[in-house]
Amino acid sequence: MEGLPQCTALRAGCSKMAAPSNQGVNCREMSAGTETSFRRKVRGKLPAIRGTRPSVHNGQLLLSTGVPSLDHVLGGGLAVGTLLLIEEDTYSTYSNLLLKYFLAEGVVNGHEIYIASASEDPANILKDLPAPLTDEMPKPDDRKSEKQTSGFTEDPQETMKIAWRYQNMAKVESLPMSSTRFGHYYDISKTISPEMLQTAKSHSFYWPGTFLNQEDSLLCSSCEMTCDYYRLLESIQRVIHEGGYDGSNPQKRQKNILRIGIQSLGSVLWGDDICSSEHPQNLHSLTRFLYALRGLLRTSLSTCVITVPAHLIQNKAIMLRVRNLSDTVVGLESFIGSEKETNPLYKDYHGLLHVHQVPRLNSLTCDASDTKDLAFKLKRKLFAIERLHLPPDLSDTVSRLSKQDLAGSAKLLSSGCGTAAAGEKHLDF
């Protein structure tokens, strides 16, 4: 454990979440003995920070991932102080997009942003963030027409004849919610406006850039590029401390959240060899880093999203450890280049989403979604995660005649009842 900040590493083991509420609660003074000593148990008041809301399940302060349907899948959002690990798809197209959504959500809400990358200049990532759709939410009417074109029958009475109980089931696919403060929709064809970017405070960490600035650039150019995430950790720690997110340097003004996004951690460009050999030399550097990072996050008002090229990591034990060290783990599997691309089962989707792990925060249960079959699709203005199902079979071979008969008889039936009530004709049954 050499080279790691000891205090934070120690705190990482502590399971209690950093409660941003602790300072501000229970400050109501007990008044004199006239009152009864019984008090209604008041749940700790969470600080009102833009873009956050308390969880309905365990009272954790949540913030949005930037994709409302992903929030829904993960039980409302990401708890402050936790770590979301995204296992990248093969070409890391969609994982980068998710990371950008997460950061863009931070910019929109005025959170502070920290970007770390080894492959792309963080300034470019910041410039490429998608623009939020603030004024026009997708209207329900649009959705309805969309459904019609995609072949669903409209009348809810007729859609489910036999399995009618399922009509009351909650829908996983989370259509746009009315709330505008928590979770936004983004248009990926446009980039965020520079004015909005200027209002957001951002920090960045560019691995090759910081490395070349050191006097040991000669070393870097030849062979012995040290693989240690120490500098990254140090940088994050400095930002957390200077911004007062750890509570040591109390934020006098409005409390704010730090959003940390780390791109492709563990890839070759970070100087790590876990992707290229099964028995890497630095077996533990990534796990050490994550352990210390988790400690930092737990004691601060910050949330971190990391993408990891899991499909490239050769040693499966490392991947297991990395998963265990993260709170929420989500895997993306895109259909690009795979044979699933041509499978009609998946024709409406761009990939599958696997929820590997959902944290149990201050409780014994987690708010895992009840279904494992989740797929995502990307439209220009919507990244939606839905329950995977077969598209409705609209071919002529399906027997649908009997349905018409039934509908006809149902109409007869209802009319029969009506007339019977009027007392003009005989009872039908």
């Binding site: 070409y91 890391s92 197209t93 980068n96 997009l97 492959s119 200049d121 090759p208 870097c220 150019s221 030849s222 062979c223 590029m225 693989c227 492709s264 890839s267 070759v268 460009l269 100087g271 790590d272 060899d273 992707c275 290229s276 050999s277 099964e278 090229p309 499909h311 490239l312 050769q314 690009i336 280049g337 044979e339 691309e341 041509t342 499978n343 009609p344 089962l345 077969l390 071979t397 027997s399 005649l401 009997s402 008969d405 039934l406 006809g408 008889s409 149902a410 007869l412 039936l413 029969g416 005989h426 009872l427 039908d428 049954f429």
Partner: protein, 292 residues
């Protein structure tokens, strides 16, 4: 796809991966010539072949426009020839010093990348490659990079890691007398296009694409997801007939209704009601207040 990449020149890093049985050097030469025809300046850093071997079979009018860096004759710098390219020269600064500040767009050819990967760790190779191509340099704009890689020399893990860094990956595989090339190109937007092409390389190093198969055309032979089910989703004609003729117990069909109606009208079944004396009968119409 391949033809398009060859003529317009793909930005960033292009890697041609070959094997002993299927050398990709012809494909590399074809790309080199296309780049020269576009009027680009070309720097070849050769480790695998000597200068004579490289230019053997090279069209004469173009040979003069290639700047050749010899990494073959003196790879360890024993003869202390300043023009020789050694292992230590494979850095961004050193290569940029050799390239200089030309007016024209520059393409750097590595022949081959496998030689470098055998001597320098993958991480620093990737950083050098990205350092050369990702950011525009002073004096000359963005560089292009074209590298030959002997894919059978490296582990699949290394190839996978390398392919995340490069923009275009051409994998030369064999199929009979033609070359079969799997193309994977990543656009700047992050979109990935893949295709498989069968081709012949003509004597003039032009490409003759025999067959082209990309993801759009692959859709034709799509698989049926209901193929391997353990139950039956489709009904045969007789099955459907039987299903439709079956009377469901709780469904109120029209003939059931008519039979009920006819029986009620014809038969003498009646309901007799004997009022109980204790009954509190309300003569008032309960629905009196409604405007029915």
């Amino acid at each position: 796809m391949l033809q398009e990449l060859r003529t317009t020149g793909s930005p960033g890093i292009t890697i041609i991966s070959d094997s002993v049985l299927l050398p990709g050097r012809d494909l590399l030469l074809s790309f080199i010539l296309a780049s020269l025809q576009r009027g680009e300046q070309l720097h070849v850093i050769a480790f695998d072949v000597s200068r004579e071997d490289f230019f053997a079979g090279f069209p004469g009018e173009f040979a003069s426009r290639v700047t050749f860096h010899d990494g073959f004759s003196d790879p360890l710098g024993w003869e202390s020839d300043p023009s020789a390219f050694t292992r230590d020269d494979f850095t961004v600064t050193s290569i940029m010093k050799r390239v200089g500040r030309p007016e024209l767009p520059v393409t750097i050819v590595l022949d081959s990348l496998s030689w470098i990967l055998a001597r320098i760790p993958l991480t620093s190779v990737c950083h050098t490659l990205l350092g050369l191509t990702a950011a525009p340099h002073e004096g000359c704009g963005k560089l292009r990079m074209l590298a030959l890689l002997h894919g059978d020399l490296h582990s699949p893990a290394l190839l996978g890691s390398l392919s995340t860094v490069v923009d275009t990956f051409l994998d030369v595989r064999g199929s009979g007398e033609h070359l079969h090339v799997c193309v994977r190109h990543r656009r700047k937007t992050g979109k990935v296009i893949s295709s498989g092409e069968e081709l012949r390389i003509l004597d003039t190093f032009a490409l003759d694409i025999m067959m082209h198969r990309d993801s759009a055309t692959r859709k034709e032979n799509e698989v049926d997801p209901t193929k391997d089910l353990t139950f039956n989703l489709r009904l045969s004609d007789t099955e459907r007939e039987r299903k439709e003729s079956a009377a469901l117990p709780y469904v109120f069909s029209s003939n059931k209704k008519s039979s009920l109606l006819s029986s009620s009208s014809s038969s003498s079944a009646k309901i007799y009601y004997d009022p109980d004396p204790a009954d509190d009968v309300d003569d008032e119409d309960p629905d009196d207040d409604l405007d029915v």
